[in-house]
């Protein structure tokens, strides 16, 4: 993000500053007039994707296995040590959202490290997709109802299952 202080050609005039503020106000979302999804869906169904990852699984067999084990351990320990959310959290308390976000970020980091190896197993993609979609739905539900403590446990179970599957894909 620029701060407007990096301009050699800073005019310095009040009108120039006003213009910049007005320009910044143009930054807004604009929905397309037509629904573009049908066209996108048709195109992505027709266009082949590049291979997700290329690797040398035999030569690097040990490294991802060890990494998967360490990542699983790290994430598991962190989330077992987290204090439980009190069932009767006050309304609007952002604790559940914060815990959900922290959990999601921890698992995202773990997946980012492992996913390239896991992608070499296309037979697992269906299961990955289903669990990822579930995680997204639970996160959305937490966003809608930040007092639903049971969703946090559901999210943890979903991520743990996803990580377990990823670990299995990496090791085989």
């Amino acid at each position: 993000m620029n701060t407007h202080n990096d301009d050699v050609y800073d005019d310095g005039a009040q009108t120039d500053e006003a213009l910049r503020w007005q320009l910044r106000g143009l930054r807004r979302d604009l929905e397309p007039q037509a629904d573009l999804w049908p066209g996108i869906a048709a195109r992505i169904a027709a266009v082949p994707r590049q291979a997700a990852a290329t690797g040398k699984p035999r030569a690097r067999r040990f490294a991802p296995w060890a990494m998967a084990a360490s990542v699983l351990l790290a994430v598991g320990v962190v989330w077992q040590m987290m204090p439980a959310v009190k069932p009767q959290a006050p309304a609007g308390n952002p604790m559940i959202r914060q815990q959900a976000v922290s959990m999601a970020l921890d698992y995202e980091r773990a997946f980012a490290r492992l996913q390239q190896q896991a992608n070499t197993h296309p037979e697992m993609h269906g299961a990955f997709g289903e669990l990822d979609r579930s995680a997204a739905q639970i996160l959305s539900a937490i966003d809608d109802d930040p007092n639903a403590t049971f969703l946090l446990e559901q999210l943890r179970r979903t991520y743990a299952r996803r990580l377990q599957l990823t670990q299995r894909a990496v090791m085989t």
């Binding site: 050699v8 143009l26 807004r28 992505i44 997946f111 996913q115 990822d132």
Partner: protein, 197 residues
């Protein structure tokens, strides 16, 4: 009051973070081939992607919609290689910019992207008193009528908040050229607005 403000701010922040985490989960699913998850990404981000494309090409309508479609198709193709080192929304935004700029470079007819220097010289920049084209044109329309390269620099810097280094890198120009283009684009814009801004 302070506590309430902090709580509200924290909630806003975490809402944004939940959205980012949701995007990441959807993106991972889409990367694995889930078109349904990708449709969710499209629904969540179409407005933002289309918005920046409209601003860069200076037009609503079919052309901008074609580019928005193209940006999402490219995103689908590139997702398996996405490393989740930035937010999905940031990645999509940058991809939309690249898609629009590529189209502007390859465009035939009208002022060419790489010929803005001439286009700017030929258009005659109004003086600071606004004695140029004193039309009552709104800001959005005035930006849209700028020559493509000047418009791109102005939009990326003044609207989207990019730094000159990022703009220069994206447009393949020197940082000094980006600053010069911005200065001239603002002058031209003020002239077109009749010195009202």
């Amino acid at each position: 009051m302070l506590t309430a403000a902090m709580s509200e701010s924290m909630t806003d922040t975490t809402t944004a973070e939940v959205a980012a985490a949701t995007d990441a989960a959807l993106a991972r699913s889409a990367a694995a081939g889930d078109a349904g998850a990708f449709e969710s990404i499209y629904r969540r981000h179409a407005g933002r992607v289309h918005g920046v494309i409209v601003r860069l090409v200076g037009a609503h309508g079919v052309r901008a919609e074609d580019l928005t479609q193209e940006a999402f198709v490219r995103a689908w193709q590139a997702l398996p290689k996405f490393r989740f080192e930035s937010a999905v929304s940031t990645w999509l935004h940058r991809l939309a910019v690249t898609t629009a700029l590529m189209e502007l470079r390859s465009r035939r007819g009208g002022p060419r992207f790489d010929e803005d220097e001439d286009a700017l010289d030929g258009l005659g920049v109004a003086d600071s008193a606004g004695n140029g084209t004193a039309l009552s044109m709104d800001l959005e329309r005035a930006v849209a009528t700028l020559p493509p390269r000047a418009r791109a620099v102005l939009v990326l810097h003044d609207v989207e908040g990019w730094k000159h280094e990022e703009i220069a890198n994206e447009l393949g120009m020197a940082v000094g050229s980006s600053k010069a283009q911005l200065h001239r684009a603002r002058q031209l814009l003020r002239g077109r607005l009749g010195g009202e801004a």
